[in-house]
Symmetry: none
Subunit: 407 residues, 2 copies
């Protein structure tokens, strides 16, 4: 028997109090180096509430994808949600579209786009068009959006920050990935896009993108400095089995940033909108307590502080989470997992491959007799190091959702 | 996507300062038992330089092949070099040939041989011919080497210590493995060798070996006590993808003993010859610093002391390595991994399956806040227990050689 079938065959029914909560402190894992006095933000932070949880929790570390591999947010979260990130690749364009809050449908082909400057011969002279203001970007996107359809495809354009935007091509049967139109260096013309895989859907998508270019470039030809645009990471939204289908749990997603709500929506989680702070996110959980079996709650600030190399701010975000925790405890989930989608070490100012710390707290998690939730403590926990995608199985086991295997 | 493809697709270019160094203390891992006052040699040794590294390193333990499996030097090193030892079996004859410094080519069929005593009926009466002196062995090998060719195959004979020697059969299309001619007990005759797999190359090799026997035995029939010889582990050198091809790293191998240089050469590492001590090995690294991306440095003494059950000598070799370490630090590699190819516990006087300790030191390894490189400390490290063959991936990640996966 395959392991997946085993889990399916042993699945017991949910009970009304079976609430699982995955609290993701994005990029929480860190490294202790001499410049941080060999402390990590989790170690430096004052976290009385997390400490209380830690004392009665099982701990470990998780490899998000494979040893030494640094994941983006897409693979990082798919792993947390119980999917092998190598089975379901989510392209850059798709992630960007989700980040701008576009409601993608399976099959949509999305491209990360940015305005650029072309000279009179059509040579790219500035790949970022002098990083134009967001307001200019919005005006230009509106001009391009005069194109509503290309061939059979609906065209959806959404401005981002500065010179960045997203284009989505929506039609039955389109596929990605396509090659970039971005030549990735200045002094060369925009490239024709091509199918990056052998598939008629991808060839069709490439033709539509090239037709779009032919019609769109004249619309902004007179603009300056943004008289062209480049596409990267052109990919389609893959069809992924839904979380409910796969794990039998009705899931709600609480996040401030659109990308994380989008990632949750990819696997059919319900987006619970309208929160703008950690406190509000936790309150939203309370309000929705009766409506879902599983809650994904996403905190972005830890990752942003890591990316900025800001130790004190990462500490501050952790402490903010800690202060808000009593809100969650008003209706304590049966199983609470606290972790990240990957590490974002302050000294590296980027995502990393270092396995992220995780703790699971439930009435039957047991205690690893460790007093705080830190990197070095999780090294000594009862869960060892395991693949992120197995976290959901531990959470379900803690919730009593699996029968015994064999007599 | 497969994991191997993932690593390939994310590979970033080497930089000139990207130096990876694998320092193998052969058989370093040990076990704490009552007769060693529950200390291991790593614990008992005074190692101020290793301690300094340890304080800023990530630690763990590695399973060389599979749980409970004790590896020989071949599988042990293939794992460290990033190859699954189960995918590339290197026969005993091949290892022995490498150990005697024979420059093998892919396809060579090599046999581990030893002189024996036969009675007048051709029955083996002493499988080791009374362990004749090496000088006698050399004279006998010269007699056998009067045979330069058998059929299409070139014959290469090289004496070892005491009664041991190696025979290599070199010709296009030959294959192993073959069955042993050694009956493995006295009182029976030498056995005909046969193909141990269904392959025409192996049948052809078996015929050549049997023909060799028919011509070789008469050459030493009058000798005493060594008037016969037995063959074991007859195998061909497998074709293994080169280290450079597989990992994009130009590698140099520094070892005192021929077998380890031979194992490195199997995967295309450049042998850097002429070193006779740990100090000289480390100095050779300094001299070759600019010429390679990856250095394999092999220390044999730890394993020999383990095999001899000599606790104090194992401690002494570790301390010798520690005293020489400042030489390496004159041009510190970006990533330094210290480990063994397996454990050789003093109380067992043999290789063992116990996962060997490993530490990885780099500017981004992070510190596990452990003060020494010992078995019990590595049990608490951030790397957990992993397969040896993943070590190269962690080393490459520490060197910044992988791009982020997904957005």
């Amino acid at each position: 028997m395959k392991t997946e079938e085993l889990y399916k065959s042993l699945r017991l029914p949910n009970r009304s109090d079976t609430k699982l909560l995955l609290l993701v402190l994005d990029g929480i894992g860190d490294i202790a180096v001499s410049t941080t006095r060999f402390l990590t933000p989790l170690e430096a932070a004052k976290t009385p509430n997390l400490d209380e949880l830690a004392k009665a929790a099982a701990m470990g570390r998780m490899t998000p994808v494979a040893p030494g591999i640094t994941p983006g947010s897409g693979p990082g979260h798919l792993g947390l949600f119980g999917y092998d990130p190598l089975d379901y690749e989510v392209g850059r364009g798709v992630i960007e579209a989700l980040g701008l809050g576009i409601e993608l449908r399976p099959g949509d082909v999305a491209a990360r786009a940015n305005f650029c400057t072309l000279n009179s011969e059509g040579i790219v002279t500035d790949r970022r068009a002098g990083r134009i203001a967001t307001e200019v970007n919005e005006v230009l996107c509106a001009k391009l959006q005069e194109i509503k359809r290309v061939g059979k495809a609906e065209v959806i354009i959404r401005p981002g920050k500065s010179h960045r935007f997203v284009i989505v091509f929506r039609a039955e049967g389109l596929e990605g990935p396509l090659t970039d139109s971005d030549p990735h260096r200045e002094g060369t013309p925009i490239k024709k896009v091509e199918a990056a895989v052998k598939s008629s859907g991808a060839r069709e998508a490439a033709a539509i993108v090239n037709d779009f270019y032919a019609r769109a470039l004249p619309l902004i030809a007179k603009e300056h400095p943004a008289n062209g645009f480049l596409l990267r990471g052109i990919a389609h939204l893959p069809k992924i089995p839904s979380f409910q289908e796969r794990f039998g749990l009705k899931a709600g997603a609480i996040a401030v940033y659109p990308m994380y709500k989008g990632l949750a929506q990819l696997i059919g989680m319900q987006k619970l909108e309208g929160t703008n702070s950690i406190q509000e996110e936790f309150e939203r959980y309370l309000a929705e307590y009766g409506n879902y079996d599983y809650f994904f709650v996403h905190v972005k600030g830890t990752d942003m502080a890591g990316e900025d190399g800001d130790f004190d701010r990462k500490v501050a975000v952790i402490e903010e989470v800690d202060r808000a925790l009593p809100v969650l405890f008003e209706k304590k989930p049966l199983v609470l997992a606290v972790t990240g989608d990957h590490s974002t070490p302050v000294p590296m100012r980027s995502h990393s491959w270092h396995p992220q710390p995780v703790m699971i707290h439930s009435p039957v998690s047991g205690s690893d007799r460790l007093d705080r939730f830190t990197e070095t403590n999780t090294n000594r926990g009862s869960l060892g190091i395991f693949k992120s995608r197995q976290l959901i199985r531990y959470m379900m086991a803690n919730a009593g959702l699996f029968d015994k295997f064999g007599a």
